[in-house]
């Protein structure tokens, strides 16, 4: 039994030692032939905060449940701190889960809930009491031990669920959409709280969410999944700025997609023709062939409005302002190209107001070459 206590670390320096979690060619097929997880491999280092991100049905929760031991892989292996865990039941794995609906035991007090893991492992009573109370203090609910779960607010229940898992000092903490049931404001608060606690205890967190904003806020690394496969693994900056697939560009943040044909591809630089609208330049993979149909993705914040070609960057297109939506410090401007393509631009309110752009006005939109990413379009 590991001693219960906390190692202070400063987050996620990748260490060269044994990773906390390794998935090797993991496959999960459910009866009825549905492949929920389709041959994924992943390495998670000690102390990392890794998020599995994807739409519902992408296999992220199934992956988490297989690590927890609640579901069993059809093929492949799971290695936790160097130990293969196939056939090891959930209750003998040094892994704990924070469930989506918290799954607090309704017939037990908060104290008994948090103490559950330690008592089933037959720790001494005094020791249990000490650890539980320390944990309740850590989640800022000291003195709540005697209450029943139903007497707590959603946010408080969430923190108790976290404490109940963390008190066992697992090798890995698994979190299955733990903030899904909270309202927006509370969710933001809890995100910061989670991050603080994770830094504090230095335990590896594997976090499942479909909320890309949450993933960007919390994670050291993000694993983006779709249809049971991994689309991309990277830091928040990498997956946002350098999405490797069209799916990632679309799922993480907001992207505009402009359809065109490759005129010329040299190394990473691509020139794409939009027909009558002219050519645009951007970067793309080396596998883009001349004449192939591509989608060029551009983030709304990369697109700027202009009236004069002299103030423009490398790419320029003519457009009409369809709609202007005030978002506080920002304005979302919806423009339409001559071929009917709708694009979203985001700009500072002050700048748009100063220039006095109007709805229905013909304008130029412009963006730097490096901000356009070309992906092969699925025909």
């Amino acid at each position: 039994m590991r001693p219960v206590g906390y190692v202070e670390t400063t987050g996620a320096e990748p260490t060269s030692g044994t990773p906390d979690l390794e998935l090797r060619n993991l496959v999960k097929e459910f009866t009825g032939g549905v492949t929920a997880v389709d041959n994924i491999s992943l390495r998670i280092e000690k102390g990392e905060f890794v998020t599995l991100l994807g739409p519902s049905g992408c296999g992220k929760t199934t992956t988490l449940r297989m690590v927890a031991g609640l579901d069993h892989p059809t093929a492949g292996s799971i290695v936790i701190q160097g130990r293969h865990v196939e056939g090891v039941p959930a209750y003998r794995r040094n892994v704990n889960t924070v469930f989506q609906n918290y799954a607090l035991f309704p017939h037990m007090s908060v104290f008994d809930n948090v103490a559950f893991g330690l008592t089933v492992k037959r720790h001494a009573k005094d020791e249990v009491r000490g650890h539980v109370e320390e944990m309740l203090a850590r989640i800022k609910l000291p003195g709540f031990g005697h209450r029943r779960p139903f007497q707590l607010s959603g946010g408080q229940q969430q923190r108790v669920a976290l404490a109940r898992a963390l008190v066992n000092h697992p090798a890995i903490l698994l979190l299955d959409e733990p903030l899904g049931a909270l309202d927006l404001k509370l969710r933001k608060e809890m995100q910061l709280e989670l991050k603080r606690i994770q830094r504090d205890v230095g335990i590896t967190f594997v976090y499942v969410t479909h909320d890309q904003e949450e993933a960007l806020t919390l994670s050291d690394r993000i694993v983006i999944m779709s249809h049971g496969r991994i689309e991309q693994v990277g830091t928040p900056v990498e997956v946002y700025q350098r999405p490797r697939t069209k799916f990632v560009a679309d799922f993480v943040g907001v992207s505009n997609f402009i359809r065109g044909r490759v005129r010329d591809a040299k190394g990473n630089a691509v020139t794409v023709t939009l027909g009558d609208l002219g050519d645009i330049r951007g970067s793309g993979g080396k596998d883009l062939a001349e004449g192939a149909t591509v989608l060029v993705s551009v983030r709304p914040e990369s697109l700027l409005l202009a009236r004069d070609r002299t103030e423009c960057r490398e790419n320029i297109l003519e457009a009409t302002i369809e709609e202007m939506i005030y978002l506080g410090s920002l304005v979302q401007v919806v423009v339409r190209l001559e071929d009917g393509t709708i694009l979203q631009c985001q700009d500072h309110f002050a700048r748009v107001a100063e220039k006095g752009f109007q709805r229905g006005e013909a304008v130029l939109i412009t963006w730097p070459e490096a901000d356009g990413l070309a992906f092969t379009a699925e025909e």
Partner: protein, 580 residues
């Protein structure tokens, strides 16, 4: 062995071990249901089979000769008496069903839609007569319909009639009382279906321009069809097996098949003819249920409690005031017989009827001093406790397994358990009587207990299963995730969370057993229970002591129902039970 390893194993194991594993896995899942399977085979199926055989054996001089014959069925068809009684039974049961469900539907509709704040109390007020002694409620009508009963006295006083009307000892009396007896259950069944339906679809129809009548006819009525079917089955089928009501209120003119059969079984010991009649009645009941088509989801029916009152809104646009007045009349119908029962129990007159002769408690004193009465109460409580205990032990593991696991024969088990609920309980009594006689088992406390457990078992099963449906499986996963193995998980999480369901099932069994008359009557040796004691009183003397006993029973039922409801309400508020 844990299921976890059993499921993980096929990854490495070959085909043969896989088969063995699957076999063992199936056994683990069937395991908890074995007790109930054995019980149903021994005490439902075996008696039915024996009854089938007996109906084809020859009877002579109080003995069954083992010659195969169809003469029992021939006698049934050729002697007009049985056919006539059978036809009368169907008519009485049919009219009772029509009145009962017809009167109950608007009432249930009112409860589900017309009230909000008082709904819980109003529903409990329907439940109380339901849980009050069947015998006592039947008896209450004697003093209302009798020659010097409340109705005749009132009509004479008002000058409407000069001579008392003959209502008692007619089929009319039986139909009125039977309607009254099954009324609460019909209301509760319909209410449960209407309540679950919620008002939103009806509101949508109104919003789309339907008149209230159109909205009701085209939306609510079709959507509550399953509830109506359930109510029809639960009134018609037990009405086919009525015995007490025609015996007390019907006289010779309204004899029903149950009365004829009791004579055949108990007095003539003609098990051959009795079995053939039983089979015909069973076929009738089965055909009726099958004819209604859609099968009734009993585990869902019993999940209905008072429902989520907070969620319901009061639709003001509906013309509910008229329904409100109707509901008041129906409450009067529900409580007037009980009110007279109580009034006459304190009337200083040797007959339980008007005029009022002054207040007295002497009938109560007489009852409380009666050692036979005390003895029968003690026996009844003992039987009820044992019945509750045994039925929960037999039914609960099966309910647990049925909700969680798929195993071979799962659906068959569920359907076999519905059968005892949709055959009149008197038939179950006859079948068990035949079984015990065939194996020469003396009638005693044990046979009564077997009868009671067999009778309540399906109800306990479905009540426990209904509560299990609301169980959140992630709680067990959470326990395992925190290091509890299967046994610790079961002991510390699953079992404590099952307790409300077990208590509800046990309480249901206890109450049914306490009030059970006909099976006890058929299967008892020398054992005297409270309903048998009351029956004895009714057969020998109609004096206000019966009213005193009845009033005491009503008070106990009132306290028990109220306590159970308040407890359930408290638990729901604590979020301990999902299904209530």
């Amino acid at each position: 062995m844990s299921q976890v390893t059993a499921r993980a194993a096929p990854m490495q194991a070959g085909q043969r071990t896989k088969g063995a594993q699957a076999m063992r896995d199936a056994l683990i899942r069937v395991g908890p249901a074995l007790l109930i399977i054995v019980w149903v085979l021994a005490f439902v199926f075996a008696p039915m089979v024996i009854m089938g055989i007996y109906s084809l054996w020859q009877y002579q001089n109080f003995e069954m000769l083992r010659n195969w014959t169809v003469e029992n069925y021939a006698e049934l068809v050729t002697s007009t008496i049985y056919i006539r009684v059978l036809w009368r039974t169907i008519q009485i049961a049919g009219l009772t069903t029509i009145f009962c469900v017809g009167l109950a539907y608007p009432f249930a509709y009112f409860l589900a839609r017309g009230v909000r704040r008082w709904r819980e109390l109003l529903v409990i007020m329907v439940m109380i007569p339901f849980w009050t002694s069947f015998l006592v409620r039947t008896y209450a009508w004697m003093s209302i319909l009798g020659e010097h009963g409340v109705i005749n006295e009132a009509l004479i006083q008002l000058g409407v009639i000069q001579q008392p009307l003959q209502i008692l000892y007619t089929t009319t009396a039986v139909i009125i009382a039977a309607t009254y007896l099954f009324f609460p259950f019909a209301i509760l069944t319909l209410y449960s279906s209407l309540e679950k339906l919620g008002p939103s679809t009806e509101e949508a129809a109104l919003d789309l321009g339907a008149t209230p009548w159109q909205a009701f006819r085209r939306i609510t009525l079709p959507l509550s069809a399953a509830g109506i079917q359930a109510a029809v089955i639960f009134v018609f089928v037990p009405a086919l097996g009525l015995f007490v009501t025609p015996a007390l209120l019907g006289g010779t003119r309204a004899t029903m098949i149950g009365n004829v059969q009791v004579t055949i079984f108990k007095n003539a010991m003609n098990f051959g003819l009795g079995s053939s009649i039983s089979f015909v009645v069973l076929m009738l009941a089965m055909l009726f249920v099958a004819g209604l088509g859609r099968s009734v989801d009993l585990d869902k029916v019993y999940a209905g409690g008072v429902g989520d009152v907070a969620r319901a809104r009061q639709p003001e646009h509906l013309r509910l005031r008229a329904l409100g007045i109707y509901a008041v009349l129906m409450y009067i119908f529900l409580y007037l017989p009980i009110a007279f029962l109580i009034i006459f129990s304190m009337n200083n007159s040797p007959t339980a009827s008007f005029p009022w002769q002054g207040f007295t408690l002497k009938w109560y004193q007489e009852v409380i001093r009666d050692p036979w009465m005390i003895n029968s109460v003690r026996n009844s409580l003992l039987i009820a406790c044992l019945t509750a205990l045994i039925s929960v032990v037999v039914a609960a593991p099966a309910a647990y397994a049925m909700v969680r696991f798929r195993f071979p024969g799962r659906t068959l088990l569920k359907q076999s358990l519905i059968i005892p609920m949709i055959i009149p309980s008197i038939m179950l009594g006859f079948a068990l009587l035949i079984l015990f006689t065939a194996f020469e088992i003396d009638l005693s406390v044990v046979t009564v207990l077997i009868g009671h457990v067999t009778y309540v078992l399906p109800y306990v099963f479905f009540v426990v299963a209904a509560q299990q449906y609301g169980f959140d499986k992630t709680l067990e996963e959470a326990a395992m995730d925190l290091g509890a193995n299967r046994w610790v998980t079961f002991r510390r999480v699953t079992l404590p969370l099952m307790v409300p369901g077990l208590l509800a099932g046990g309480l249901f069994a206890f109450t049914l057993s306490l009030d059970e008359f006909i099976i006890t009557f058929l299967l008892t040796g020398t054992l005297q229970t409270l309903p048998l004691f009351v029956w004895g009183m009714l057969r020998t003397m109609v004096s206000p002591t019966v009213n005193a006993v009845g009033t005491l029973i009503v008070i106990v039922a009132f306290v028990v129902v109220l306590a159970a409801q308040l407890r359930g309400r408290l638990r729901r508020r604590q979020g301990l039970t999902a299904a209530g």
